[in-house]
């Protein structure tokens, strides 16, 4: 439906073309900023019809566009969205606009290149979420690394080069294994269409290798416990905008990959290996939670908090198999998935907001150390209110978006095993501990030093950005029903795919 509008193509190519034009502006920084604002604003406007015209209650792909691309390898330009990817695209356009506004004044060098990188990145990321063809997906998936590599490396902190190369190589190695699997599936089926991959029968051995290769690609991106070490480095060194994109959108691609590739293409292997994912997710939730507690750098703390929260996402996705094994019923599978997707969106908003908050302080004091702050509430009351709100959302307070996803995932875990739920539940304690302790040390107390005393409160631009995010966080938290409504059919469909064995007779 609605394919005649080419809405998704516009969403992919408008930012990319806009980015190239901005790149061409060179030294005309002001013009570059306004043009970027216009492009990202237009992209957000264009993405709204995705939500309003979206047909609820069907797992079918919508806004589908299909055109021949590379005939020799039967790869098509085939894009479309379902209830899982559509909200993620909205998150992407929303976040990019906020980043453009938030970066208005705090980029000094190569302004046009900076904004161009974010615009091109936006288009590529939307491409990842919309692609329904294996090669197309892979192309966007890898190409997306380049602008991010440049963003971290050019505008990052002191160890930016190390962080940028580590970021790139970590993700690259996992992705290439995925490429091998995609080609393998193509050679078996004669098509790169994801729907074909999802339908084709595969033996358990094949599925296991396929699952592990996908795991290599997506676990790095999520990131899951043993392969998470690139994230704190990348986050700490990236400029604020880069951190926001990383946390808000790029991490979600790992989770999205699990939902779109691992689970439906290799359901039997997923069932066999769900213990691996569940164990790593719980380690992320508990162990990384403790690691976060020990951080002295604000960005690092939020980075670790991201890893812990993403542990929830992977737990929610894979808990379904345990529910079936323990209760024999299938009712909780979709609930876990719903929780995972809501948690992804919520984490996108909250962690993005937290990084922006740190950015606001960093712009003024030029330090990310917690010990450089204290008593910020005295000089920046408006900022403090936002920061406290996002901190509470990060620790999963009811009424904020953080609560909905965590609650659904814990509820689903209960159906599987009380101990999973117990361990997952520790996040409520740990999350509250590290986030609120951060707030206590940074925001409250006496004014720590002269720099804090000299702080000025939010300007209108910053207020707008944080205000919009706060609205979104509260909206999802208080009234998640429309969101759940949009994705219900898709998660239900996915739950059915999981239960259907693909092992060839």
């Amino acid at each position: 439906m609605m394919s005649s509008t080419h809405l998704l193509s516009w969403l992919i190519f408008l930012p990319i073309v806009g980015g190239v034009v901005v790149l061409g502006l060179g030294h005309r920084a002001t013009l570059a900023k306004w043009l970027s604002l216009a492009v990202s604003g237009l992209a957000l406007l264009l993405s709204i019809p995705l939500w309003t015209w979206f047909k609820r209650g069907t797992p079918e792909m919508q806004f589908v566009e299909r055109a021949p691309w590379i005939s020799t390898i039967h790869s098509e330009f085939y894009i479309g969205v379902d209830g899982i990817s559509m909200p993620l695209i909205l998150l992407t356009t929303f976040t990019t606009l906020l980043i453009v506004i938030a970066s208005w004044q705090n980029v000094e060098k190569r302004v046009a290149q900076y904004f161009a990188a974010f615009l091109i990145l936006e288009g590529l990321m939307i491409g990842v979420f919309a692609a329904l063809d294996g090669v197309l997906f892979y192309a966007f998936w890898e190409a997306m690394l380049l602008p991010m590599f440049i963003i971290i490396g050019v505008w990052g902190g002191p160890r930016r080069v190390y962080a940028a190369i580590k970021f790139f190589l970590y993700t690259f190695i996992g992705s290439l294994l995925m490429l091998v699997v995609l080609i393998y599936l193509y050679l078996k089926s004669g098509s790169y269409e994801l729907a074909v991959f999802q339908r084709m029968p595969l033996t358990l051995t094949e599925q296991t290798f396929i699952f592990l290769a996908f795991f290599a690609a997506f676990a790095v991106k999520v990131p899951m416990f043993p392969v998470h070490t690139w994230l704190p480095d990348a986050h700490v060194e990236a400029p604020t905008g880069g951190s926001v994109v990383l946390a808000a959108i790029m991490l979600k691609m790992g989770g999205y990959g699990f939902l779109r590739f691992s689970l439906p293409i290799a359901p039997d292997a997923s069932r066999e290996l769900d213990w691996l994912i569940i164990a790593l997710s719980l380690i992320a939730v508990v162990y990384i939670g403790f690691v976060a507690l020990a951080q002295r750098d604000m960005k690092k703390l939020i980075a670790y908090s991201s890893i812990a929260h993403m542990g929830f996402v992977t737990l929610g996705m894979f808990i379904g198999f345990q529910i079936v094994a323990h209760t024999g019923r299938t009712s909780g599978i979709a609930m876990g998935m719903d929780g995972a997707v809501v948690q992804m969106l919520s984490h996108g908003l909250v962690s993005g907001a937290m990084f922006l908050c740190v950015g606001v302080m960093y712009d003024r004091v030029h330090s990310r150390e917690i010990s450089s702050y204290g008593g910020v509430v005295n000089t920046m009351p408006k900022f403090a209110a936002f920061m406290v709100l996002f901190a509470l959302a990060n620790s999963g307070l009811p009424g904020t978006s953080g609560f909905v996803g965590e609650f659904l995932v814990i509820l689903a875990s209960f159906k599987a095993n009380v101990w999973y739920a117990f361990l997952a539940g520790t996040t409520l304690v740990l999350g509250a501990a590290y986030t609120l302790w951060l707030v206590k040390r940074v925001i409250f107390g006496e004014i720590a030093n002269d720099k804090v005393a000299a702080l000025s409160d939010l300007n209108g631009r910053e207020f707008l950005v944080l205000g919009l995010l706060a609205l979104a966080v509260l909206l999802v938290g208080l009234w998640p029903a429309p969101l759940l409504d949009v994705m219900r059919a898709s998660t239900q469909h996915l739950a059915e795919q999981l239960l259907f064995s693909k092992i060839a007779p």
Partner: protein, 486 residues
Amino acid sequence: MIAGSFNPSFFSSGLVHAWPEIFLSLAACAILMLDLLLNDAQRRWIGALAVISLLVTAVLVVAHPVPTKIVALGGLFELDRMAQILKVVTLLTVAAVFVYSTDYLQRRAIFKGEYFVLGLFATLGGMVLISAGSLITLYLGLELMSLCLYAMVAFDRDSGVAAESAIKYFVLGSMASGTLLYGMSIVYGVTGSLELAEIASVVRNAAIGGNIGLMFGVAFLIVGVGFKFGAVPFHMWIPDVYEGSPTSVTVFIGTASKLAAFALAMRLLPEALGASQPDWSQMLVVLAVLSMALGNIVAIAQTNLKRMLAYSTISHIGFVLLGILSGTAQGYQAAMFYMISYVIVAAGAFGMILLLARQGFEADKLTDFKGLNARSPWFAGMMAFLMFSLAGIPLFIGFWAKLGVIQAVLSVHLTWLAVIAVLFSVVGAFYYLRIVKLMYFDEPTDTTAIGGSILMRTVLSANALLALAFGIFPGTLLEICQRALQ
């Protein structure tokens, strides 16, 4: 041997198929003569004439219809779609190389007509090799090309390093030619024919694919091909020759001669010895794995860009071999696509070195690229495109090349080889990204404006943009390669 009695009228009627080669050799001779009559100021027209004659030859190649494989001149000459395409790519590449080299040679005061004449004859050798229908023409073409290249390396008479490289290249290259000739003589001994088609049918029909004598011949041929390609363990000459030669010659060796080596491999292995594919495949597996491993790992340690690109060539040859060793039509197409895309990108990368080079400054150190983005955002972007392409990142041509060869080895169930290939391409990504890092993340140490004529800048930009354009729409080139090798 040439079958039947010699028929002059039949022979001369075949000449029409070799018209581009004939034109090019006449043009080269004419330019050689003309060069004697010109003074230094007029000499710059020599370069233009050389480029024009290359372009005209390319048009002649394209204009000649090749509905099916044409065998002419008593089996010595063979024209198929693969030959046609490889010739066009070679001619265009050499034309670009001449454009890139002009400024460099002038600044170095070694702008001599001989560079272009030798280059034209080397190209002619490459074309003869590409169209060879018999072992004799194959060898003739190869030697014509190699001898010109030896002379070109030593072309800068005052440079000791260049002379050393030339000797090294000459000695090792002659050894390779000797080995190749020895292998050819064994194959002739076993099959009783010099014609590729004849050899192929003898090997197939007499079912002597596994004959021990033939195996010896194949082994020697592979050594020879490995030398010309620069595959490990026959790669020793590559880094030294690349580094020691004047950059304008390095770019020639790094591009046009690789296409010729590819044609050599394709004519000898799949075409003549297709029936013993299982045997040579095994040998190529070893060469491919070693090349990818050594090329990628040693490249990390280099501080000289020409040397780094030399090791990078070695690793890319490993990938090309993956396509050939799979032994399927799809694999050969993938290898051909890989070779063409590599040549496009390598020409651009060496072109960038030539662009940055100045009087007394080679710009061949990695550090010479520091902060290029601050000096010239446009050319930093172009170089970044080329590096991303070499690293095999999507939306650049190098990705489709890698995709093709990995698909080829997966389709013959060599999954382990595919995994090794992708792992080494991660290693490769590291050193290509390092160039990007130098250009974008570091501040410039040198703020001289970028030189180069308008023509050179335009051609170089077009070259780099081609890597992006074919990266977004690889369909045409993939189809061309597919039709060439069905």
